[in-house]
């Protein structure tokens, strides 16, 4: 990288940090998954704080540890989980935008509350687009700093612009800040093979608690609990929409998320309200999870409000 390049130098890659944008759409029929921020709401807030377009690229910092040196002068925003961010050793609360300049050190520590932080920069990070998106998808080997699906590495350089004049740092009003503590209820819209599951399985789903399993990743959130009876259907693989709830033979539900495989052959109960999946992305393994039913009309109303609010 040339001396004159402006942006951010990765000093320590941390646990797992990815360049993301709204996601890669339009190639699902070839098996290319979507990617995109696991907590799209927090990512949208970061871009909103910077007056960026809703699909500007940002960094998804999972579980912390990322350390960056600033090589420009610009405004950044941090939203999502509180990963004990410090700037030059001084603690910084999330959900606000602030000014940084050359030589500043940003360091994400370990999670205090939540699991994934979003670091946005005025104008977005400049990495190559692959199939119309910068979203990093490791499994598809697409997106990210070099376009081959790799997570941030020590020594990577994230180019971004210079902001010549100081903008006004902003903070998100407290009433908009989500609460990432405590158990979580996932609202499910019945769908797919819902009728193939017995009534008692549905009752069990609504009544018993589950736990978020450590094997959860960007492909899917795995839950563990007393096993559900999954019907034997001998299905052909079929397309998986976002937040579909698969129940394989072991009876432990999997919620299919951003990096899900495009096709799958397990019976499905329906789909989780996306807003709840965003909240789920901020929960650490071991979190207690419950299910509750929601109708399509109510779910769509909530999603329309979200999309309108962020101009998505």
């Amino acid at each position: 990288m040339s001396q004159s390049a402006t942006g951010f130098q990765v000093i320590r890659k941390g646990f797992f940090s990815l360049v993301q944008d709204a996601g890669r759409f339009g190639y699902e029929h070839l098996g290319v998954t979507n990617g995109g921020p696991m907590d799209a709401m927090a990512a949208s807030w970061a871009n909103r704080l910077l007056d960026n377009s809703a699909d500007a690229s940002l960094i998804e910092v999972t579980a912390g540890g990322l350390e960056l040196e600033v090589r420009t002068q610009t405004m950044i925003a941090v939203t999502g989980g509180d990963l004990n961010l410090t700037v030059n050793g001084k603690p910084q609360a999330p959900w606000r935008s602030f000014w940084v300049s050359t030589g500043d050190r940003l360091r994400f520590g370990t999670p205090r509350l939540g699991f994934r932080a979003y670091l946005g920069v005025q104008g977005g990070f400049q990495v190559p687009e692959v199939l119309g998106s910068m979203a990093t998808v490791k499994r598809d080997k697409l997106g990210g700093v070099c376009g081959r699906g790799e997570a941030l590495q020590d020594g990577d350089f994230l180019a971004s612009g210079i902001l010549p004049e100081e903008g006004i740092a902003r903070q998100i009003p407290e009433r908009f800040m989500p609460d990432y503590s405590g158990p979580l209820t996932l609202h499910i819209i019945p769908g797919y093979q819902q009728h193939a599951f017995s009534k008692s399985t549905w009752q069990q789903l609504m009544q018993q608690p589950f736990e978020l399993d450590t094997r959860s990743d960007r492909m899917g959130a795995r839950l563990s609990g007393s096993p559900l009876q999954s019907p034997t259907l001998g299905m052909y693989s079929e397309p998986l929409s976002y937040a579909a709830v698969q129940v394989p033979a072991d009876g432990q539900p999997i919620i299919m998320l951003n990096d899900r495989q495009t096709l799958g052959g397990y019976p499905k109960l329906g789909n989780i309200l996306p807003l709840d999946c965003f909240a789920l992305a901020q929960r650490q393994p071991g979190t207690r999870i419950r299910f509750a039913p929601i109708g399509l009309m109510t779910a769509q109303q909530q999603m329309r409000r979200y999309l309108r609010f962020f101009g998505l």
């Binding site: 759409f25 190639y27 070839l30 052909y236 079929e238 929409s241 976002y242 579909a244 309200l273």
Partner: protein, 235 residues
């Protein structure tokens, strides 16, 4: 064989998607139909329909819930399904021939498959390479193509214990399907051979060597012939 389109049923698939199901049977006319239906829907309704993903007997239609209600979309789809011809197009897609080295280190399960099927290894190779397969679906991983239908004599359940590691390019069978592993990955299919095809290249046009509705034929070759083919492809 008649080519009447199976009746369509509709299933909810979340806040912005609907799954259309065309029965539960493999149907050799479906891949080309679903592929054409995808093009038709995306061209006709770009402001309402954002993505269309076909699979064996289903097609997922993603829409903008601000533009249209689910019920209205279903009515629209019922009309549009009739606009695309459903016919025996199994011979219409392009045919792609893939050279395969069968057996030995490249096909560690060839002997076991021959034993399980009560056939000679040569007979297994002849059966597997003796017919065309249709691309029924693409997915799971970029470019991964599900090919069917395998001859009856070769249909076996998946391995009882999947392998930790299957090499990229492995030509494998399970039940009525055959496929080629695009990347090194775990897998439970029976490996008959090896072909060095690249299934997905985002820089290439088209990005995949075959599409849903196309056909694939495997051709048994020697290691030397395969090397020559690879050199030829590189040119």
């Amino acid at each position: 064989m008649s080519f009447k389109r199976p009746d369509a049923t509709f299933e909810l698939a979340g806040v912005n998607a609907i799954l259309v199901r065309f029965g539960n049977q493999l149907n050799s006319a479906l891949p080309a139909y679903l592929s054409a239906l995808r093009d038709h829907l995306l061209t006709r309704h770009p402001s309402i329909i954002s993505q269309v993903v076909p699979a064996y007997t289903t097609i997922l239609v993603e829409y903008d819930p601000r533009q249209c209600r689910m019920y209205d979309l279903q009515l629209l789809l019922e009309r549009e399904l009739e606009m695309v011809a459903f016919e025996n197009t199994a011979q219409c897609g392009k045919l792609v021939e893939l050279p395969v080295v069968y057996g030995g280190e490249h096909g560690p399960d060839l002997t076991a498959v021959a034993d399980a099927c009560g056939l000679s290894e040569q007979a297994v190779i002849e059966l597997h390479s003796g017919q065309d397969y249709q691309v029924y679906a693409q997915g799971f991983a970029p470019g991964f193509s599900y090919l069917a239908e395998l001859p009856e004599q070769l249909r076996l359940p998946r391995l009882s214990t999947p392998r930790q590691k299957v090499a990229a390019g492995s030509v494998a069978i399970a039940e009525q399907q055959t496929a080629v592993y695009p990347y090194e990955s775990p897998g439970g299919w029976h490996i008959l051979g090896y072909t060095p095809i690249t299934w997905f290249d985002p820089q290439a046009s088209p990005m995949t060597p075959v599409e849903v509705g196309d056909r694939v034929r495997f051709k048994a070759v020697t290691v030397q012939q395969l090397d020559a083919w690879v050199k030829e492809q590189a040119r």
